[in-house]
Amino acid sequence: MSEVLVVVEATKEFGVKKVTLEMLTLARELGTPSAVVLGGAGAAEALSGKLGEYGAEKIYAAEGDEIDGYLVAPKATVLAELVKRVQPAAVLLASAQEGKEIAARLAVKLDNGILTDVVGLDADGTATQIAFAGSTIVKSKVTKGLPLVTVRPNSVTPTPAAATPAIEQLTVTVTDTDKLARVVERVAEQKGSRPELTEAGVVVSGGRGVGNADNFKLVEELADLLGGAVGASRAAVDSGFYPHQFQVGQTGKTVSPQLYVALGISGAIQHRAGMQTSKTIVAVNKDGEAPIFELADFGVVGDLFKIVPQAAEEIRKRK
């Protein structure tokens, strides 16, 4: 069977991200998964255990400052060379900022079609995408070149399939043009132990109704009790209640967790665009006419400052 290249998404703090395991799971439908690690020195070694656990038969690694010290261009160059050499059945990347950017450059380099925000992939390369704020299901295909797709987190359930991959270090030959955008500094911001927003199984979000930044502690408390991530509506972010990287919606993150809890969020289309493919939706809002209740599987009309602490207490009791 042909190889399927899976470009690994990982963080220093948490290692291999869940979306990578989802991609390895999807890749097995199309061929033999090979993981591609593009990162700092020693990155592949640290990740190989987890990648093997989910079926990576081989790991290609391109590491070091030549790769990691610039925005995606060097990574795309290395990947393009690898694709030309191994002629994979497909190339999978994460549908996040960097994955999309590498895929974009790869598409131009190879004059190859590209499909983004893919939530399902058939053995024949037909991809399923969710478009227009979750309202439309699209089936599409790359018609020129190989299936080059970026996979949206929380699309499939990762299933283990043990393998013991060997690491092949790739020779890095990046051009001067690849080194035009230099990373001067990477600043890690305190995030605590919560799961990453787009990958979390549970997301608890607060909106304008939360009232102020301090009150977001309530949202965080409920998120922590449910083992979830914290999100915020655009209204809450614009009001300065919570940082922008946690914004869920049309101009923020798209999430698709098992459970989405909307607290003090009216449910404007801007917000619905980022969360309406969530499996189960629960809402608390003082306005019984709020559009969020049209989506909610369970809604409570009332004062979130009474309801949320009571819910938190009840969860503690049951633990």
């Binding site: 895929a103 974009a104 990373v183 009474k306 969860i315």
Partner: protein
């Protein structure tokens, strides 16, 4: 500095949006078409750079006839002129082909700096800035929440999953911006009147030296096979809190096995 801002006309994301049943493209005929929201932040950023450093701001749009409305709207914010890439053969173009056309136009315009929104609200594909940079052989500083211009040096702060990174490059370059970068100005009455007289140049594929076979449906590198509307979610139980709302909420979560 010679700045080109990419502007895309999109169907209003606040209304119902659809793909056409005849050719699977975005239905623009029945929609209320507006400037892609993120592009307004790109225009604002370009105008701020012009105000601080001098130069010229040009709007570049690829789109059908009706995109003229969005071009005039964009010009009313303050840019100097616009270029409209207009050709019937462009209908159905994929992202790869679109980047080919826009790169050809940018090549003719000779921009020092290209600014665009990080994504459009219709496709949300986010690939165009890097595709353009790849074709033009220039730097791409994408996803900017802050842009500093110092002579020919550009420095961008961009949000990442872990925090943020600071990235630098020299012009010429492509910069894409998020809506956290600034607060776009509203067009003034004077701006709206002035926009009517600003030059809008129309370029065809022939003007750009791109063959019709490389774009549109013929040149597309991907295709929509089918599309269906997802059934709208129907609301479930809705209760009014009478003192036990929190407990009832947890009871629901327990039946769904989240607690």
């Amino acid at each position: 500095m010679n700045i080109v801002v990419l502007v895309k006309q999109v169907p209003d994301s606040g209304a119902d949006r659809n793909l056409r049943n005849d050719d699977n493209t975005v239905d623009r005929g029945s929609a209320n078409n507006v400037i892609n929201e993120m592009d307004e932040y790109a225009i604002e950023e370009a105008l701020k750079i012009k105000e601080a450093h001098g130069g010229e701001v040009t709007i570049l749009t690829m789109g059908p006839d009706r995109a003229t409305e969005s071009i005039r709207k964009a010009l009313s914010m303050g840019p100097d002129k616009a270029v409209h890439v207009l050709d019937d053969a462009l209908h159905g173009s994929c992202a790869v082909a679109t980047s080919k056309v826009l790169a050809a136009a940018l090549g003719q315009l000779g921009a020092d700096l290209v600014i665009c929104g990080a994504e459009s609200t219709d496709g949300r594909v986010q690939v165009l800035p890097h595709m353009l940079a790849e074709r033009l052989g220039v730097a791409a500083l994408t996803g900017a929440r802050k842009l500093t211009v110092d002579g020919a040096t550009l420095t961008v702060e961009r949000q990442t999953e872990e925090g943020y990174e600071v990235v630098t490059a020299s012009t010429p370059a492509v910069v894409s911006v998020w809506d956290t970068i600034n607060e776009p100005r509203y067009p003034s009455f004077k701006g709206i009147m002035a926009a009517k007289k600003k030059p809008v140049q129309t370029l065809s594929l022939a003007d750009l030296g791109v063959a019709a076979a490389e774009v549109g449906f013929d040149g597309a590198t991907s295709a929509v096979v089918e599309h269906t509307k997802r059934p709208p979610r129907s609301g479930g139980a809705k209760i009014t809190d009478e003192g036990e709302g929190g407990v009832k909420l947890v009871e629901f979560l327990a039946t769904e096995k989240f607690v």
